[in-house]
């Protein structure tokens, strides 16, 4: 369980907008994910979650400039994905990792039958089986999650959002890759379907013994599904902790704000107090803590440096814990 499957060191990523204008999407990320873990990355929109997944899955746009090291362990070998070429990356995809992309509901070609989409992926990535064996594998996978195998003959456009989401998760997991990256897999679904999808992910995680890395802004999804959560803000990881610990004892003011933002049924109605200011420079390199302009507890040292406090598995970057 303590073996690391993902190790990120000093990762920086910029989007080149035009000329010399760069937007810093990932700012000195250091992160580890252990084998078999159901890890999560939370943060508000624009915090760099999806950019991080794009780097990890090597599906980033050509306008992105990346520095640092991203090591993925597969079959006891370490691969620095940023140094591999496209062919080497493709040989690792679906075996070392697979990806459930953001807007997964649009990830299936609406004009193709589900079985054809699955067959294309299976045939391109697994040369050990024939078409009949693939068909059997698909039918088993569908029935295993309570979906009729009849759905395989449906066009993707005829499936509901929840079904499409389940189909894309099945597609990502059917070849049992070591790591499965999930980008906002429950966004846009109703609450009941969301719950079903989370349940499906948990079942898959238990069954496959793969490592899951889930990215979503919805902290309640993290609370239900993950073992360990990393909180991102303005391209940095500001807090990391086991999920229970993080929700019971959040340390960073941003994490507290994020958890308090979850609406509670039966909670107090009324105007939400706006006690935070939006920083104009969250995406750029600034001295000290990037959250200081929004932080109600900011102290003078926050503008100069950031202190890293660590207690067991719980790590936070905040000067409030400097002894």
């Amino acid at each position: 369980m303590n073996e690391k499957v993902i190790e990120i060191e000093n990762l920086k990523a910029y989007y080149r907008i035009s000329g010399n204008i760069n937007v810093l999407a990932l700012d000195d990320i250091n992160l580890e994910v252990k084998k078999g873990e159901f890890a999560g990355i939370a943060g508000e929109s624009g915090s760099g979650k999806t950019s991080l997944l794009k780097v990890l899955t090597h599906s980033f746009p050509s306008s992105m400039e990346i520095k640092g090291k991203v090591v993925i362990n597969f079959r006891d070998k370490n691969f620095d994905v940023l140094t591999l070429n496209e062919d080497q990356i493709q040989s690792l995809r679906w075996k070392a990792w697979s990806y459930v992309p953001q807007a997964a509901m649009n990830s299936l070609n609406p004009m193709a039958k589900i079985k054809d989409i699955f067959l294309e992926t299976l045939e391109s990535n697994d040369k050990t089986m024939n078409r009949d064996e693939f068909r059997k594998k698909m039918e088993d996978a569908f029935e295993n999650v309570g979906l009729s195998k009849q759905f395989l003959n449906f066009y993707a456009s005829r499936l509901s959002g929840g079904m499409r989401q389940r189909a894309i998760i099945l597609l990502a997991t059917i070849l049992k890759p070591n790591i499965i990256f999930l980008d906002e897999p429950t966004t846009g679904l109703d609450l009941i379907t969301q719950k079903d999808v989370i349940q499906l992910l948990q079942n898959m995680h238990d069954e496959l013994n793969s490592t899951f890395l889930l990215v979503t802004h919805d902290v309640s999804v993290h609370a239900q599904a993950t073992d360990f959560v990393h909180i991102m803000y303005a391209g940095q990881i500001v807090e990391s902790a086991p999920t229970k610990e993080l929700f019971h004892n959040p340390l960073h003011p941003y994490t507290k704000e994020l958890i308090n933002s979850v609406p509670i049924i039966g909670g107090k109605r009324g105007r939400i107090e706006q006690n935070i200011r939006i920083s104009s420079s969250i995406a750029n390199s600034v001295q000290g803590c990037k959250f200081k302009d929004r932080c109600p507890y900011a102290i003078p040292s926050c503008g100069k440096y950031v202190y890293t406090y660590k207690k067991g598995d719980h790590e936070v970057k905040c000067n409030l814990y400097e002894s």
Partner: protein
Amino acid sequence: MRNSFIDNISNLLLVYRGFTFGIIILVVLLFLGFGLSNFAPSNDLLWGMGNAPFSIPPTFNYPFGTTTNGQNLFWLLMIAIKNSMLLGFLTGAISIAIATIMGFLAGRFSSGILGDLLNMIIDSFCVIPGLPVLLVLAFALKNYINVVMISLILSIFGWAWPSKQMRNIVMNLNQKQFIMTSKFSGLNTWKTFLHDYLPYVLPWLLIQFLGLVNWAIGMEVTIAIFGMSNMSVPTIGTSIYWAYTNQTLLLGQWWWMTFTLILTILLMLSIYMVSMSISDYLNPRTRLTRLQKSKVLEET
């Protein structure tokens, strides 16, 4: 589950009168051109001398009249329709094949050197004035000119504009999540084209093809009027050329030009109406309005 192709065709036939009209005319012309023309007598297969009376107006024996050289205009025009349609369809097929491949590759690899190079070639062919170059080519290849050669010459310029549009469609599709999924799934360029891009562009390609057929028939007429076509082979263009050269209108032999023009208009109009109806049907907004008006939507 009903076959969606049959559904679409029956919707088109029920709701779009233009499509129904166009298809009926096209089928009749196809029958006349590719079926009936096979029964033409040997001396009416090419422009030349015939053994019928000279320059007589339409009668029961000669429904379209005869030419100044004593040929039965009915059979010549049947062959002309066949050759013009053949030329149009061949040019359309060659041009659309080139346009599809060039446009797809230029769009798919738009961010690389290959994409830039292909785009430059497409742009060049778009801006080169086609007619003078076609006339020069037709003149240079005059000894080898036949229906296939004219199709090949026309195809040199026919592909460029559809290719430019195809590139834009492909670049738009590149942003779709399911295209990225296919790329992530390891599908090669050919498979991605077949499974992901082609189903989206196929109806559009059909409309472009029909447009190119009409364009090619029109261009052949232009080339023939300049005397650059194979003047012994009956086509719509050569029919107009010989009718004009023999001064049929001045001599009061109205039937030659009239029947040629009627058949030309029917052919081009039918192709245009089919093309427009399909284009209209493919636009979801106009399709829904039409289907709702005709109550087909409720029935289906």
